[in-house]
């Protein structure tokens, strides 16, 4: 049970991998207790953004070249990931990234790695099982053998085990049945409202993200292309064209729309 939410303020963030710029002068603001979404196609820099916030760039030979990342008013650039998790940031990584050879129970317990109140961990585990009753009979099961939906529940549960005040979900919807995805997003909204946890969802599925988030940013090739409230972006013709599509399906890339339609200008969203 986190007490309130943690604000995240990113300004002028430029991240490079070797000589390649992945993020260029990016700004994102998640107010305390807010629900914010970052939209974008593959290669837009979404996952790099998550790695920057949680200080995992070093595992990919990336680094922050310029800019600031502040959590609750305190700069976290240069801090190590355990410190950032201990400060209240938890994440559901892209592709879930469970520990495949550990059991469901052990996976959940790993989520509590940053906690020092050992007595409270069992209580959090129980809360998680109330949130995801399907996991209870699977506790002793090896996580790598679960279905995609079950794995995603473990991944969300694992993140919640640290009692985060900012929860980051990277591509929560990827590869999952729509029904499960809707339930997970409803759960995020509940957590956001009931616990006051700040939520940042990184998504390709724009229609879903805009339905739940209060505000959103559109990332394109490492830059912020557009930003606004969810309602504004839903009404924006360019967002509809690029990310909401005709039938509400997200296109996987900007180029996939550009090319077949003969390079029609995408409109001035900047």
């Amino acid at each position: 049970m986190s007490v309130g939410g943690l604000g995240l303020k990113i300004e002028g963030l430029t991240v490079v991998y070797g000589g390649v710029t992945a993020l260029d002068d990016v700004h994102i603001n998640v107010p305390p207790g807010g629900f914010v979404s970052v939209l974008g196609a593959n290669g837009a820099g979404k996952t790099t953004l998550v790695r920057s916030i949680t200080s995992l760039l070093y595992l990919h030979k990336g680094r922050v070249r310029r800019g600031s990342i502040e959590l609750g008013g305190e700069s976290v650039v240069g801090k190590k990931s355990p410190e950032i998790v201990a400060a209240g940031v938890a994440q559901v990584p892209e592709g879930r990234k469970l520990f495949p050879n550990l059991t469901v129970r052990e996976n959940l317990l790993c989520g509590a790695a940053s906690r020092s109140d050992l007595g409270g961990i069992d209580e959090s585990l129980e809360q998680n099982l109330e949130l995801f009753p399907q996991l209870r009979p699977l506790l002793a099961q090896t996580a790598g053998l679960l279905s995609g939906g079950e794995q995603q529940m473990v991944a969300v549960g694992r993140a919640l085990m640290s009692q985060p005040s900012l929860l980051i979900c990277d591509e929560l919807s990827l590869g999952l049945a729509p029904k499960i995805v809707h339930r997970l997003f409803e759960l995020l909204t509940e957590i956001n409202e009931a616990r006051g946890t700040s939520i940042l969802v990184i998504e390709q599925n724009a229609s879903l993200a805009l339905e739940h988030a209060a505000s959103a940013y559109v990332l394109e090739l490492g830059r912020v292309l557009m930003e606004g409230t969810a309602a504004e972006l839903r009404g924006n013709p360019m967002v509809q064209e690029l990310y909401l599509g005709g039938g509400g399906e997200a296109h996987t890339s900007y180029a996939a729309i550009e090319r077949p339609r003969g390079g029609r200008p995408a409109g001035g969203g900047r």
Binding site: T54, L56, Y58, L59, K61, K80, S81, P82, I84, V85, A86, A90, Q91, P93, G95, R96, K97, L98, F99, P100, N101, L102, E106, L109, C110, G111, A113, S114, T142, G144, L145, L146, S147, G148, Q151, R158, S162
Partner: protein, 302 residues
């Protein structure tokens, strides 16, 4: 004609003797292989210096238990503590800087560490070989016509106890869980707030402590202590590979299997057949099961 190079015997008591000797030797291989596999599994480093780690343990045992003549248990404690510190030094001084570098660059670094340890031992202990350790009870007893040395029984029991302790640590402690998590997925572990740096340091320390124990035990059964005993690293290698490089349990079984086969080859065929036979076992296992008997390709996420 075939038997011209060997001295085969079907005498059961002699074979029983080979088996018991093999179990004791195999237990030492197992503890060495376990340290080797632990490092490989959790840090992705193929540590070619593991035999030298063990040799370091054997020489430190000479210093603390023979030269300094410390009380046995105090001496063992100091020995293992010093090994632990060396493990931390290996991580914080060298291996930490290599995280994220190419696999072979790191393998070459371990080869460099091996060379340095050999050189330092030569500098500080000189080239003269030392008598083997005799701190554990030296007697023997008869069973079914076979002569069983006390030291073999003690080695087997000590290794069994340590292995059980080791597995309990991994299964039931928080640090053990975090070590397994890092072995599974370092990035996910870091994202959960587990510090991979600390886990790596603990891994090297644990491997070094196990090598220290291996050195202490091997020091009791080797002919003499000199700078050739690092070859045990080479012998524990088939043990680790037979078990499957990623399986801690497999390395134990692999160690015992290789130890027993070696003793039988030694007894029936002669000393020079020990290594060829041990490595032949490794080749055959690799031909039939490329991941070793218990190694598995990591489960891919769905």
């Amino acid at each position: 004609m075939l038997l011209a190079f060997g001295n085969f015997t079907a005498d059961p008591s002699v074979n029983l003797q080979f088996l018991i000797g093999g179990l004791a030797l195999g237990a030492i291989y197992a503890v060495v292989a376990l340290g080797f596999v632990l490092v490989y599994k959790s840090t992705d480093v193929l540590n070619l210096a593991h035999g030298e780690f063990l040799m370091l343990g054997a020489y430190f045992a000479l210093t603390f238990l023979v030269s300094e003549n410390l009380n046995f248990f105090l001496g063992v404690f100091v020995l293992l503590l010093v090994m632990l510190v060396f493990g931390l030094l290996v991580h914080y001084g060298i291996m930490r800087r290599m995280v994220g570098q190419g696999f072979f660059a790191i393998v070459l670094i371990t080869l460099g560490i091996a060379t340095i340890i050999r050189a330092l031992l030569l500098i500080f202990y000189g080239p003269t070989e030392r008598a083997r350790l005799d701190l554990l009870p030296q007697g023997s007893f008869e069973i079914g016509g076979a002569t069983v040395r006390h030291v073999d029984i003690i080695i087997f029991a000590v290794v069994a106890a340590c292995v059980l302790l080791f597995f309990a640590f991994f299964k039931y402690t928080r640090l053990g869980l975090h070590m397994r998590a890092v072995a599974d997925d370092i990035e996910a572990a870091a994202a959960m707030g587990i510090d991979p740096d600390k886990v790596y340091a603990m891994t090297w320390a644990a491997a070094m402590v196990m090598a220290g124990l291996g050195g202490l035990l091997f020091g009791h059964v080797t002919g003499a202590i000199d700078r050739s005993i690092e070859a045990i690293g080479l012998r524990a290698f088939p043990a680790a590979v037979v078990g499957g490089l990623t399986s801690l349990g497999g390395s134990i079984v692999g160690g015992l299997v290789v130890g027993i086969i070696e003793q039988f080859a030694n007894g029936h065929l002669g000393t020079k057949w020990r290594e060829p036979v041990a490595f032949s076992v490794m080749f055959i296992v690799l031909l039939v099961r490329p991941n070793g008997l218990w190694g598995r390709k990591d489960l891919e996420r769905v």
